[in-house]
């Protein structure tokens, strides 16, 4: 069963530069939360704090706390955090030296699954969910880099869901995709949200409106407004949110 994420007084630095200034958010379980905001406002930084990826950069620092259910994520091994919280990146990044099959199977193998049949099944299931199976089922042993950009991104989605995390973070997963693949990713999000808590960063207002239950508007490292998606898009309380979604800046 998926669990909610609660973020309290979260701050993040790059070197001495404070990029995330005290973020408080409750991300409900089994829902899709969209993060919107102008470029450079800290959307990626925010979700990278949720799976503790931010701290892996030299000089980067985090303060505050993040809970998954009742678990304080900053008090457990970061490796375990990342097994519970999967991530899809802004740019497709399949493992370049591995085959399509192994890209998905590696996470499972490292998680202790070695049975050939089980692996095949899990790989097929993940690829089905990511709407990629039909296109790659006859070329599973080819290198992942032989796929197109959009296919690579769906492979990364499949790779993330294969290990069955509880939360899925997606950083503009469709920014490199054509309209058809974008639609597939959105359908996938719709389908996955029963089992996963999903956080999706997007520049695409329509996309947020289509897939998200809740939407947060970020500006300069702060949450300006966080409410259910309909409210944000039809009746925002903050003037800056309204300006942004009506395209007056950003």
């Amino acid at each position: 069963m998926s669990q909610p994420i609660s973020v309290h007084n979260l701050k993040a630095w790059y070197g001495t530069q404070l990029t995330l200034k005290s973020v408080d958010m409750e991300l409900p379980a089994s829902q899709v939360t969209a993060i919107i905001g102008p470029s450079g406002c800290g959307k990626s930084t925010f979700i990278r704090c949720l799976n503790r990826l931010h701290e892996t950069l030299p000089g980067a620092r985090v303060e505050g706390d993040v809970h998954l259910g009742t678990q304080d994520l900053y008090k457990v091994d970061p490796v375990d955090v990342r097994r519970m919280i999967g991530m899809v990146f802004q740019k497709p990044n399949p493992f370049p030296t591995l085959s399509i099959f192994d890209n998905i199977a590696l996470g499972l193998r490292l998680g202790g699954v070695h049975n050939r049949g089980q692996l095949r099944e899990a790989v097929e299931r993940s690829l089905q969910m990511a709407a990629l199976w039909g296109e790659v089922k006859d070329r599973l042993s080819e290198p992942a880099t032989s796929l197109s950009g959009g296919q690579q991104q769906r492979l990364c989605i499949a790779r993330a869901i294969a290990v069955q995390p509880e939360v899925l973070l997606m950083d503009e997963p469709a920014s490199a995709l054509d309209p058809v693949s974008t639609l597939r990713v959105e359908e996938l999000v719709e389908q996955l949200k029963d089992t996963y808590t999903i956080v999706i960063v997007t520049h695409n207002m329509q996309q947020a409106a289509r897939v998200a239950d809740e939407t947060a508007f970020f500006l300069n490292g702060e949450v300006v407004e966080f409410a259910d998606t309909t409210t944000i898009f039809t009746n925002p309380t903050d003037k800056r949110t309204e300006d942004y979604i009506t395209g007056r800046f950003g």
Partner: protein, 333 residues
């Protein structure tokens, strides 16, 4: 269209010829050296045939006695040039060097590329490069004074216990001058070369790919093992080959710690050896006194074998490094 003046045309021709000469000079230089070595080797090749690389006895013969005529060439009586001990000495010591250097260099490079940042990284990098710049005679001196006694009295006696499993580790340990000490000295010289190249390669692994693994919940080691190292694989092998070439060609340091074995093959890990490079350096002087000239021809043939081996490893290295490069570009697209 305006006509190009003949002055410009001449300048252009001069430029072409000049760049042509400049560009081809390394090739010409290499060919010239190879030609000399080959020509100088011919009498020895005729005298010894395949026995040169299968024979064990290296004997200049009686340079004051009667001359011997064999296979159409002339040599001192009793002369025999079997270079197998030196070929084995070169190969064995350089392979031992690699077996020590590869893990050390990979580990150091990983720490340099991923663990250290800022000025600490800078300082350690400088230290590694300084190590590469130490003259080999200085390392050889350290090998004689410090390492050889340590091998004889400390490391060697401990390693002989492994002899139960692997016969080559069995004693006697001897003076400490020999194969193992040569290998360690060579490792010290090769580590900086492999480390520097590997560090550069590791730093070129896009962080996006590593984050893909980290984000999936891989440990640091798993990211290295499954993403970074496979990504640089050919380049890393290339770096190893470069180091190998360096180890095989090294002369002075090996000459100082090898124990100068002649006419026998190494019988264990501590046995005295000689390498091709060391023999050429140490024997050339006395070879000059061979009136038949054959001793010099034999050393030339030794140089030819060494040149062939180092060229081979170097070519292999370039090939592998450039293949990594191509693939990396392919991945970026």
């Amino acid at each position: 269209m305006k006509k190009v003046s003949s002055g410009i045309k001449t300048a252009d021709k001069v430029f072409h010829v000049a760049t042509g000469i400049a560009a081809s000079s390394p090739v010409l230089f290499l060919l010239a050296i190879a030609a000399v070595v080959v020509v100088q080797s011919i009498p020895s090749i005729r005298l010894m045939g395949w026995h040169f690389i299968t024979g064990i006895e290296w004997n200049v013969g009686n340079t004051y006695g009667a001359l011997m005529h064999k296979n159409g060439v002339t040599a001192a009586a009793g002369a025999s040039f079997g270079a197998l001990p030196f070929i084995i000495g070169t190969l064995a010591s350089s392979v031992i060097a690699l077996m020590i250097a590869i893990p050390v260099a990979l580990f150091t490079a990983l720490i340099l590329a991923y663990r250290l940042h800022g000025w600490v990284q800078w300082i350690v990098s400088i230290l590694v490069e300084l190590l590469a710049g130490i003259p080999s005679v200085v390392i050889g001196l350290w090998g004689m004074v410090v390492l050889a006694p340590f091998v004889a009295h400390g490391l060697g006696p401990v390693l002989t216990h492994v002899g139960v499993l692997i016969p080559y580790f069995r004693g006697p340990v001897g003076t400490g001058m020999g194969l193992l000490t040569s290998g360690i000295v060579l490792a010290v010289m090769v580590v900086p070369i492999i480390t520097a190249t590997t560090r550069d390669l590791l730093q070129q692994v896009p962080v996006l790919y590593r984050e893909g693994g980290i984000g999936l919940g891989m440990t640091t080691w798993e990211v290295v093992r499954y993403i970074a190292v496979p990504y640089i694989r050919e380049g890393f092998i290339g770096a190893i080959a470069l180091g190998w070439g360096r180890a095989m060609g090294e002369t002075m340091a090996v000459l100082m710690v090898s124990g100068n074995a002649i006419n026998f093959l190494p019988h264990n890990l501590y046995s005295p050896i000689s390498s091709m490079a060391a023999v050429i350096a140490s024997q050339l002087d006395s070879a000059m006194s061979d009136g038949s000239g054959m001793a010099v021809h034999a050393l030339s043939e030794l140089a030819l074998v060494l040149l062939g081996l180092t060229l081979l490893t170097n070519l292999l290295a370039r090939l592998l490094v450039s293949r990594t490069h191509h693939r990396r570009q392919g991945v970026r697209a």
